[in-house]
């Protein structure tokens, strides 16, 4: 059972990977500009796709860092207020 699923998944992946060569659609004119143009567009697409995620995760990361720092600072201040009171008692 398990091997069958694995085999089927591998087969599907393989078909997907080579489907470009097998597809015969009238509008797939990607060959017109040559392999280089294809590559160029692929890299540009990947770059553009990555940008929003990079920015959003960077900002979220910065926020997590800023909140942690603020919390730590607040805790430090609270303990600084607390300790003299202990001394008095």
């Amino acid at each position: 059972m398990k091997t069958r699923i694995v085999f089927q998944a591998a087969f599907a992946a393989a078909v997907w990977a080579v489907s470009g060569a097998a597809q015969a659609c009238p509008v797939c004119i990607n060959g017109a500009g040559g392999e280089k143009l294809l590559d160029a567009f692929n890299w540009s697409v990947l770059f553009l796709m990555a940008m929003p995620y990079t920015i959003v995760f960077a900002v979220i990361g910065f926020f997590v860092y800023a909140y942690r720092r603020a919390e730590k600072k607040q805790r430090a201040e609270e303990s600084a207020v607390m300790s003299p009171a202990h001394d008095l008692s």
């Binding site: 500009g33 280089k36 143009l37 590559d39 160029a40 567009f41 890299w43 540009s44 770059f47 553009l48 940008m51 929003p52 920015i55 900002v59 910065f62 926020f63 800023a66 909140y67 603020a70």
Partner: protein, 216 residues
Amino acid sequence: MPREATLRKYSEPVGTAVPAFGGGDPPFPPKARAPVVSNARLAILMFIAAELMFFAGLIGAFIVFKLAAPLWPPAFQPRLPVEVTGVNTAILLASGVAMHLAMRASKRREPRAALVRWLTIAALLGIVFLLVQGYEWVRLIGYGLTLSSGVYGGTFYTLIGCHGAHVLGAVTWLGLVLARARSHRHELSAETVDLCGIYWTFVVALWPALYALVYL
């Protein structure tokens, strides 16, 4: 009359409400707290995010042209001044360091003179960068590389020109901050310096990427 209460609401005893519908027990009493990242800082970060996407659009176009071209730079086009601009990159990076020192000085509340000194150095280095860029542009135009000389010229001038315009804007902003720092009538908050500094850092940090992409 709660006649249409949901089944779930009734089936649970009051007082053990689970966090549902975005509700749940409030942190009691709810208290206001100062924002961790101030409004102005957040705004400048958002602005930089948008600027990055703007440059991403231009760079995305540039990548297509550069990678698709059989020869880059194309034949019979002048080569870009790699060495001079490399030195210029170092100048801009140095201005970034100066700005960083200025931000540190303002954060540590050092005497105003230290702040003014670092800000002046940053601004002067920025201006030198712009002048060198301008001089190189004039030379390139002299060699015949213009906006209309194919995608090579077009991408070069738009991409580098957009960055130049940003440096110009940053220098203008820095000039205003510097004027405030020099006049002793004004109180200068650390945030005023910081905002300008964050933007300056963005403009400086963007440049090496553009240099590597366009010149090398």
